[in-house]
């Protein structure tokens, strides 16, 4: 028993290697040569826009889809391997929480939660009141006799969670479980889910397209794009040091500026750049920053430790704690979210010329292919300025 337990603890809870799945009739694979591990007790978030393959990956782990190539191991057991029929989902010892919850409307809450125990013939747990225990854990112990249609969205979500956890599966799969809740409830349930996971420590894969959810819940985040993992790392790393321009865009670096080098120095679509300049050999780089890290000032009032793009205000709108400014930089639209104190209201008029300022320490630089570029920032050389 101990030995088995130890062996299990050593093995990864979930291992995917070189998994590829192409849907019939599709030109490109939904998941493309995908490999990653999940350690026991870890919660890995698959994050990405719709169509990036995150749900397909989850469904391959569940056994609801079958990849054409690659292997998948669950708890040290190969459930998908070449030239072998995949292990059906019922025999994979999983729990899954569906986006639509998929609570069976003709069964009570107790019937729904107890179903995995009956299906897996865990009669001892049934009689030992495990259903009630799990229901209490997620806070729906008073709903056991109700039917799903009599529950609110949040309650349904809890029941679905209880059903996913009740049989103590090797891995619990979440398929965008919060996306059907309204914003306020979503925040609350997300918090509860986090507390529950840190308390119980179940191994888990969590699919979402919401970066806030991903950052809050994941031990690690795997950002996916076109069937591949773009970056898999600790949430802090993903947030502060995105591995590509795609990831940066996805975790909030929404404002984009293209810099091109000419003999006269760096310029943007709105003309020559001012302030600090990147030091690199590349002829062109892309800057990415979060709107809330930008500053908007009058043209002649530029701080010296910033990179500056000249622009014209399109619109400025009140956004509670800040002012949202949309500015046009020679056809490129820049979005900045500026604290009221740091913003001169007189600039809020459409057509005002402004300087949009970038803090180098909060700005990501990428090359044209979207790979991160290591650059230093410095004052422009006087020589370059003079055109010598």
């Amino acid at each position: 028993m101990d030995l088995v337990g130890a062996a299990r603890a050593n093995a990864s809870a979930v291992t995917l290697s070189e998994v590829t799945k192409t849907f019939p009739g599709a030109a490109t694979p939904a998941i493309d040569d995908l490999s990653f591990n999940i350690e026991p007790g870890e919660l890995v978030v698959l994050l990405g826009p719709s169509g990036c393959g995150k749900t397909t990956t989850l469904r391959c782990v569940a056994g609801l889809e079958h990849p054409q190539r690659g292997t998948i191991e669950l708890g040290g057991r190969r459930v998908v391997e070449p030239s072998r029929r995949p292990v059906p989902p019922a025999k994979r010892n999983l729990g899954m929480v569906f986006q639509s919850y998929a609570l069976w409307p003709h069964k009570t809450v107790a019937g729904n939660i107890g179903y995995p125990l009956r299906a897996r013939r865990m009669d001892k747990d049934l009689t030992a009141g495990w259903v009630t225990d799990v229901a209490r854990l997620v806070g729906c112990q008073d709903l056991l006799d109700r039917y799903p249609s009599q529950l609110s969205g949040g309650q349904q979500q809890r029941v679905a969670l209880a059903r996913g956890l009740v049989a103590r599966p090797d891995v619990v799969l979440f398929d965008e479980p919060l996306s059907n809740l309204d914003a306020k409830l979503r925040d609350q349930v997300r918090g509860e889910l986090h507390a529950l996971h840190r308390r119980l420590g179940f191994t888990s894969i969590y699919v979402t397209h919401d970066q806030v959810e991903a950052l809050a819940l994941g031990h690690r985040i795997a950002v996916m794009r076109a069937g591949r993992i773009e970056q898999i790392a600790d949430p802090r790393v993903v947030f502060d040091a995105p591995a590509s321009e795609f990831v940066a865009d996805f975790v909030g670096y929404a404002t984009r500026v293209v810099l091109a080098r000419s003999s006269a120095g760096w310029s943007t679509s709105s003309g020559p750049a001012r302030g600090l300049e990147p030091r690199t050999d590349a002829s062109s780089v892309v800057l990415r920053a979060r709107p809330e890290d930008l500053g908007v000032t009058a043209v002649d009032d530029v701080p010296s430790d910033r990179f500056v793009v000249q622009a014209t205000v399109i619109d400025a709108s009140f956004a509670g704690r800040s002012t949202d400014v949309l500015a046009d930089a020679g056809g490129a639209v820049l979005r900045a979210s500026v604290r009221h104190a740091a913003f001169d209201e007189r600039l809020a008029v459409s057509g005002s010329p402004v300087a949009v300022t970038f803090d180098p320490s909060l700005t990501m630089v990428f090359d044209e292919d979207g790979a991160p570029a290591v650059v230093e920032w410095a004052r422009p050389k006087a020589a370059a300025r003079n055109g010598a």
């Binding site: 072998r84 729990g95 569906f98 998929a102 069976w104």
Partner: protein
Amino acid sequence: MIAVGRRTRFVSSVKARSDASVHPVRLLASIGFAAIVAYLVVVPLVRVQQLALQDGAAGYSSAADAIGLRDAIVRTVLLASGSVAIALVCGTGLAWAATRLPARLRWLGVVPLLPIISPAVATTIGWAFLLSPEAGYLNVLWRKLPFATGTSGPVNVYTVPWIVTIVGISLSAFVYMFVRSGLSNMNEELVEAAEVCGSSSRAAFFTVVLPLLRPVLVYGGSTALLLGLGQVTVPLILGRREGVDVLTTVLYRFTSDAPPDYGAAAALGSPLLLAGLLIVAVQRAMLGDNSRFVTHGGKSFRAAARSSRTAAVALAGYGVVAVALPLGALVIVAVSPFWSPNIRVDLFTLDNFRELLERREIVDAVRNSVLLSAGAVLVSLPVGFVAASIIFKAPTRWVARTVDVLVNLPMGIPAVVFGAGFLFTYTRPPAVLYGTPWVILLVYVTVMLPFTTRFQLSAMMAVGTAYEEASHTSGAGFVRTTAEIVVPMLRPALVGAGTTMLILLSHEFSASLLVRSVRTQVMGTQLYDYWTTGSYPLVAAFALAMCVVTGACVAVASRLGGRGALDHL
């Protein structure tokens, strides 16, 4: 057999290499199922062709020599096109009217469906009692008007225009059914958007509603066209006196005359078969990309704010004409000692009903109808479940497609042709079932294949796969998932399909007509025999009894299925 086995093994191994997901046992089972359905559906149709072509296409030449064949063809086309034209206008109008019913009178929306529920044989005989030129009650009433003259007419129900009209009135119910469901699936905001953009409500109807209804109109219209082409009940009952024949009635005569000429009958079946397949093909082509017409979401279409009394009057009026009048005529004749132009209340009697119960063949026919319909429903439901599952889950694309085509074939082929095919197939080895109830049961199951499959398929699509997947990821296998999750969730659809089929089969006539035998009759065929030979009051009483039995089926079904059972129509 060996060849089939080898072939399936080959296929399954190919499949296993390309996609590991299909379990070979499941694939074999679905191929076996497809083979059984193919035998049921295709063999009778092949047999029809075979008979028509044997002896150097002797069937075709003797059919061509039949007196009045050209007239019969012309009349068939006339009957089909005329009745469909009536049905399209009437049915669409009624469906539009149903959206404008005042809230209190919403129940009137069921009225136009009554002709589907009530036995066509009975109501057609009712029409004869109403509009027969000499003794028809409505004709008599008309002649009582001061300016009317003559001793017969003005309407002769036994002529082509009236046969077309009566078929048209009953087919309106089918068009109504499709258009009503189309309207209830239509997002009301689409119409409101047109009105906000400046269309009048009439313009909105013609520029938005009607174009969006195209699929249901094509669907309802082609269904009505198929039913009109294959129509045998009305022309057989009303056409006899003036010798008005259509293809189906000529076909029937070839099988029922002594000696029968199966070859000629088969030859007459082929144009109907071809026309049916053609209509289905055109229908599919015209519908094309259905996603263009998906208007789901939002509120369903309802013009509640503009409810109108005229709408209620139109629906009620249709109910009176299509059902109440013919049934009323049946009642009067049934309680009279004889059918005469003058209604003699003083002579009213229940003797005819007493006599019904004493006639063994009538009691037998009723029993046969009830048992065979119920039996066919019990067989059809699991068959439809398997068919729908195969189509829905598509273990392999070509198996799913084959099953889809096979189960829908009976929709495109007139029931009379199917009946004839079964007659020709099961009067000879390997399975001589003619003369037994089994052949009727088989025909019923076959004719109901499209209904049972579509009902359950659309329910499966509505339910989706997530519930089933949740069961699988909870550790439940195929058996438990089917028994505990899938079937309970399909219960409303199963009840709805069962109800509909029970009602349709309890008064099935067209297919039964060909496969019944002297000893094995069902209600409709026995009633028809009485109409051709028996006394009118007894016929009327029997017709009413048939309505009562069908009504009892409706009652039992809606009891079982709860209130919603009939909504599935």
